[in-house]
């Protein structure tokens, strides 16, 4: 019976059932373990794939970051360069602005000088542009009125025989107050005597016939023949302009010569008659006389 039982426990292969069962159990366990390991491996693989993807993403990001930092560094360098360039341009611009302001000032100065020179030229041109005594006197007045801003003045001429200077033309002052002045007496008499102009730089208002604000000698060849006395100026004028003194100087010399020339011409009958004296002198000196080559004693002294 026992052998039957054992025979029953055997498989046709002859391998005992329990061994087969054990083997199956083992195999199941083995396969299960294999399955679990495979699953673990798959999970691990998936995780690694994920990690790899993560690492690749991180890597890409880091690459990008490094690249952008480089770009930023480059940009910063560019910005620094541009800042320097901007500062240099600002400095240059300020330099140009300063230069432009200087040019503008210079331009204004040149304009003013040109204006002054034009005034002087026109004044001289007008004084000598007429041979009429009345016109010369009018031009003197115009020059004082229009160019300097004189509202009242008196022109005096000297009378050496009587030691007096007498008013010959005036504007804007009380005629009753005008009288001949004694040479050497008062402001007017002193200027006539010395030939030194007196211009009050401090006060240009409140002048009177006796105490004018400026007295200018009229001179020819270092000899005083009269004076111009400035009594009042237009209200807008608060001080003398630099050109005013130049105009006074011009008047001092040119008004006098213009008056003398006009006075001499006044007696003659036209320009040819007025030149008769020159013709007579030339006749006396004989042919070949060259006046352009003659240097007067006074000129020689001036050169020395």
């Amino acid at each position: 019976m026992g052998s039957d039982k054992s025979r029953d426990l055997r498989q046709p292969s002859g391998i005992p059932r329990n061994v087969i069962a054990e083997r199956e159990t083992f195999m199941r366990a083995y396969l299960k373990r294999g399955f679990e390991i495979t699953e673990d491996l798959l999970r691990e693989n998936q995780k690694l794939r994920h990690d790899l993807a993560q690492v690749q993403a991180d890597n890409a990001r880091l690459y990008a970051q490094v690249a952008s930092e480089d770009a930023i560094r480059e940009l910063l360098t560019t910005i620094e360069g541009l800042e320097k360039e901007r500062n240099a341009l600002i400095e240059r611009s300020q330099e140009l602005k300063r230069a432009s302001e200087q040019y503008e000032d210079r331009n204004l100065q040149i304009e003013s000088e040109l204006n002054d020179l034009t005034n002087l030229y026109v004044a001289a041109f007008q004084l000598h542009g007429t041979m009429s005594l009345k016109h010369v006197v009018r031009h003197i007045g115009d020059l004082l009125f229009q160019f300097i801003g004189v509202s009242s003045y008196v022109i005096y001429l000297g009378e050496p025989d009587r030691n007096l200077i007498r008013p010959i033309g005036w504007t804007g002052c009380d005629e009753a107050a005008l009288k001949p002045e004694a040479v050497g007496q008062g402001m007017i008499g002193e200027v006539y005597l010395t030939g030194v102009p007196r211009i009050d730089d401090e006060t240009i208002f409140g002048g009177t016939v006796e105490s004018p604000v400026a007295v200018i000698p009229l001179m020819v060849d270092d000899q005083v023949i009269g004076v111009i006395s400035v009594i009042g100026l237009h209200g807008h004028k608060t001080k003398w302009a630099s050109v005013d003194k130049e105009l006074f100087k011009l008047l001092g010399v040119h008004a006098c010569t213009a008056l003398i020339a006009a006075n001499l011409y006044d007696r003659e009958k036209g320009p040819m008659a007025a030149l008769a004296g020159i013709r007579e002198k030339l006749a006396r000196e004989g042919p070949g006389t060259n006046w352009a080559g003659v240097v007067s004693e006074r000129d020689k002294r001036a050169v020395q």
Binding site: E111, L114, N115, T118, N119, V122, A123, F125, Q126, G129, H139, D142, L143, Q146, F147, I148, G149, H234, G235, H236, K237
Partner: protein
């Protein structure tokens, strides 16, 4: 470029010459002179002017009357007129402006002042 014509009416030859010197610095401007208002009016009757510069105090016909006549003249009623006044004579200035003067310049005149005013009125760059 347009050629402008300007009439300068001023009894003082000095002032006329100064104004003409200033105007000579503007390109394409030709100047005609007159020494009083009546002569000025005659010039206006004979030619067409783009600008008139006139003094106020003049013999025979003063600048104010001249402005008045210009403003009633068919040809020149719209022509700009610059008057020359003495500093401080604000009454003259006001009267001239009321009569139709376009601008004023005060004596003593400065060339840059004249040039700027003329360019402004003639719209010269």
């Amino acid at each position: 470029m347009k050629e402008f014509t300007c009439l300068v009416v001023e009894d003082s030859s000095m002032m006329r010459q100064l104004i003409i010197f200033a105007l000579a610095r503007i390109k394409n401007i030709s100047v005609t002179e007159a020494d009083d208002g009546v002569t000025g009016l005659k010039q206006l009757a004979n030619a067409r002017f783009d600008l008139v510069i006139t003094d106020i105090n003049m013999p025979i016909m003063d600048g104010l009357k001249l402005v008045q006549r210009i403003r009633t003249d068919k040809v020149h009623k719209d022509v700009p007129v610059i008057i020359i006044t003495t500093e401080g004579s604000s009454e003259d200035k006001e009267r001239a402006m009321a009569l139709g003067a376009s601008a004023y310049i005060t004596k003593p005149i400065q060339a840059p002042q004249v040039i700027a005013k003329v360019k402004e009125l003639l719209k010269i760059e």
